[in-house]
């Protein structure tokens, strides 16, 4: 580049400019960090509690009800209503033995005191959780069963969502519970307090904004895990909701950047960039790098919250970092492609969400992969969001090794490279 400015230096100059602009934009920041955080915390908190029913293939499940309370009984009754499961009461020792021998697909243990915690959004995260004991090889059934459990439990939650007044009341109750909770540290309390306060504000906004109609929170059935106790030990609900929230944050970055690329054109700064001695390939690569860095920052921030504040087990860190980077590459490519789809900021934002919402919905952004019915799971293969979440989950708690993760990484990076090259090709040919 001459005069002492290397290509790397130029890329950094370009990317840091974009990041600076991005993090100064409050609205963009909300979609990149605020909403995903709220999402991860909210659903993680909700699904830290449990419920159950519905399905098709009969699974024999042993139930170990140590709680014996009315809530637990009601929960088991609802689960039993499902055509998919056949329940039988057992002691824990019997149940474990039955599963080991293969006489039962799984056992479900409801610990003492679970019913008391189960009545609210909050509490299950720290209190005793359900345990699903299962043969590790029966992963598909495990997911299905979790889905059933969540679906029934979620029945009540869905009503709550349709009704902001009830939801707010519930939020209040949860907030009170947090204040009373003795097993929470002060920082945790503060975190939840801020979270619920912003959620109340969000509910207010939601009522007037027509956000519900855009599919922000509505969507199909919302069933999520929490109960699951895999063979590797407990998985917290946050380990399920935070990979989802990371993908939401990444999608926020993608829209943000696709829009800035168009904005550069509309506002004429692109002209000035083109008038500089920097080749267009470097200019576009700078955009890609900025988007990649933004997605990484968002992902690591959310993982930090999940790991440090919520005590979520982040699993295998090198693989997790690799998964984050693979997501970054994939969605930077999608961003580049997206920015070619319109000539105005509104057009790109509109097209962006129109493409990414279904992608997120089908890919496990709302219904976690583990709770998906099999037809949706098959459909989700076409969504890059699925592969992103799958890679993150794989590293965090699915216990996948490098080789098992390789297909997901390959798809993500492949899509990213494809998007980057196509997008760059189109953009560099535009006058």
């Amino acid at each position: 580049m001459g005069r002492g400015s290397s290509t790397i230096g130029l890329l950094w100059t370009l990317a840091s400019k974009d990041l600076r602009i991005l993090f100064r934009d409050k609205a963009g920041l909300f979609w990149m960090l605020g909403f995903p955080l709220v999402f991860g915390l909210f659903f993680g908190a909700i699904f830290s509690v449990g419920a159950g029913s519905g399905g098709s293939a009969k699974m024999r499940v042993a139930v170990v009800d140590e709680d014996r309370g009315p809530e637990a009984r009601a929960f088991v009754k609802r689960l039993a209503e499902s055509a998919a499961v056949l329940l039988e009461d057992m002691s824990e020792a019997e149940a474990v033995e039955a599963v080991r021998k293969g006489r039962k697909t799984a056992y479900l243990r409801i610990p003492k005191g679970w019913g008391k915690e189960g009545a609210s959004f909050f509490g299950g995260g720290e209190g005793p959780g359900l345990r699903l004991g299962m043969d590790p090889s029966r992963r598909a059934e495990e997911g299905y069963l979790q889905g059933l459990i969540m679906e029934a439990w979620f029945g009540g939650m869905r009503e709550l969502f349709g009704d902001p007044v009830r939801m707010r009341a519930q939020l209040r109750r949860s907030l009170d519970r947090i204040e009373e909770a003795s097993d929470l540290t002060i920082p945790q309390k503060m975190l939840f307090r801020t979270f619920f306060a912003s959620l109340e504000k969000f509910v207010d906004d939601m009522e007037g904004s027509g956000l519900e109609g855009k599919g922000g929170f509505e969507g199909p059935r919302l069933e999520i895990d929490r109960i699951a106790r895999t063979r590797n030990g407990p998985v917290s609900a946050f380990a399920v909701t935070f990979p989802q929230s990371i993908l939401w944050g990444i999608l926020g970055c993608v829209t943000g950047f696709a829009i800035t690329l168009v904005r550069e054109r509309v506002h004429g700064t692109w002209l000035r960039l083109r008038a500089s001695p920097v080749p267009i390939s470097v200019l576009l690569a700078g955009k890609g790098l900025a988007c990649f860095l933004a997605t990484s920052i968002v992902a690591f921030f959310l993982l930090f919250v999940a790991g440090v504040f919520l005590g979520t087990d982040l699993g295998h860190l090198p693989r997790l970092v690799a998964a984050v980077f693979a997501c970054g590459v994939c969605f930077s490519g999608i961003m580049m492609l997206l920015s070619t789809c319109g000539r105005t900021e509104n057009a790109v934002a509109g097209i962006g969400w129109a493409v990414m919402m279904p992608m997120a919905m089908a890919g496990g952004g709302m219904i976690p992969l583990i709770a998906m019915p099999s037809w949706l799971l098959r459909l989700s293969d076409f969504s890059p969001v699925k592969w992103g979440i799958y890679a993150l989950e794989g590293a965090m708690w699915r216990g996948l090794g490098w080789t098992e993760l390789l297909p997901a990484f390959g798809i993500l990076v492949g899509l990213g490279v494809l998007g980057l090259s196509l997008g760059t090709y189109v953009l560099s040919r535009r006058p």
Binding site: G2, S5, G9, L10, T269, L271, A275, S276
Partner: protein, 284 residues
């Protein structure tokens, strides 16, 4: 030194620039004058390598390909629409564009500082551009173009929508740059600006070159007569148009016409344009 030969640009059926030829001597200020849509911006963009011409050639500083980065480094462009990042401060904007031009370290700091001083934005350098007035943005837009001390500076309507103070400041800046030996290409649809700032002027309309030369040459050739208005002792006002108003006054004196008041209006570029196109420039 700039040489433009038979430059052509078409957008669909519309020919935005039609076989344009002109040359600009190094260290002078050249004005591209014409109403909106005349093709000034299109011409500048082709010269700066931002737009591919459909025909013709541009020779800048002896080089033929304006898309080459070695040449781009010697060109500064201040686009017609203010091209700055609103979310960044004035200083951050300049630092960013300076880095793209290959400046760094102390050199960058100095250049940014002096560019800010030059356009009178030193005190507001730390504020975000979003809070600047239209005139301040224009001045920063100019500063961003001259950061790297280019040999050729292209200013596309640098005074559009600007308050009188900012406008004067920009005039001063252009004068100073001229003194330093910068070759300046200046587009405008304000005739007075071209008259005051430019050594030579090209008049453009519908993409075609109508006339070219120094302001004096153009006025002499195409401006038509001067208008002489005088009021006689008895209060009667007359208006005559003539080539040589001083001679006319002398003639009136010889004829013993007693004159109380005289007013001479020499033709300017306004009348040049009127003569060439039959339209007023301002009417578009």
């Amino acid at each position: 030194m700039i040489e433009v030969r038979d430059l052509v640009k078409r957008f669909g059926k519309r020919t935005a620039v039609d076989s344009l030829c002109f040359w600009v001597e190094a260290g002078t200020c050249f004005g591209l004058l014409g109403p909106n849509g005349a093709g000034k911006t299109t011409t500048i963009h082709m010269m700066a390598g931002l737009l591919e011409p459909d025909g013709g050639s541009v020779l800048l500083e002896g080089e033929a390909d304006p898309t080459r980065s070695s040449l781009k480094r010697r060109i500064g462009v201040a686009p017609q629409s203010v091209a700055l990042y609103d979310e960044l401060s004035g200083k951050e904007n300049l630092e960013f564009f300076g880095r793209l031009q290959g400046l760094s370290g102390n050199g960058l700091k100095e250049r940014v500082g002096s560019a800010l001083e030059l356009v009178g934005l030193g005190e507001r350098a730390g504020d975000r551009v979003a809070g600047y007035s239209g005139g301040m943005k224009r001045r920063l837009n100019l500063a961003a173009a001259l950061l790297h001390d280019p040999a050729v500076l292209m200013l596309d309507e640098p005074t559009a929508g600007v308050d009188p103070q900012s406008r004067n400041r920009i005039f001063e800046n252009v004068e100073a740059l001229k003194k330093r030996g910068t070759t300046i290409l200046y587009t405008t649809h304000y005739l007075e600006e071209a008259e005051n700032l430019c050594d030579r002027v090209a008049i453009l309309d519908h993409g075609r070159l109508l006339a070219i030369g120094t302001v004096d040459e153009l006025v002499r050739e195409h401006g038509g007569d001067s208008i002489l208005r005088y009021v006689t002792r008895d209060g009667g006002a007359r208006e005559v148009s003539c080539k040589d108003p001083l001679g006319e006054i002398a003639r009136l004196g010889r004829e013993k016409v007693e004159i109380r008041e005289v007013q001479v209006r020499r033709p300017g570029l306004e009348s040049v344009f009127l003569h060439l196109t039959g339209r007023n420039l301002r009417d578009g």
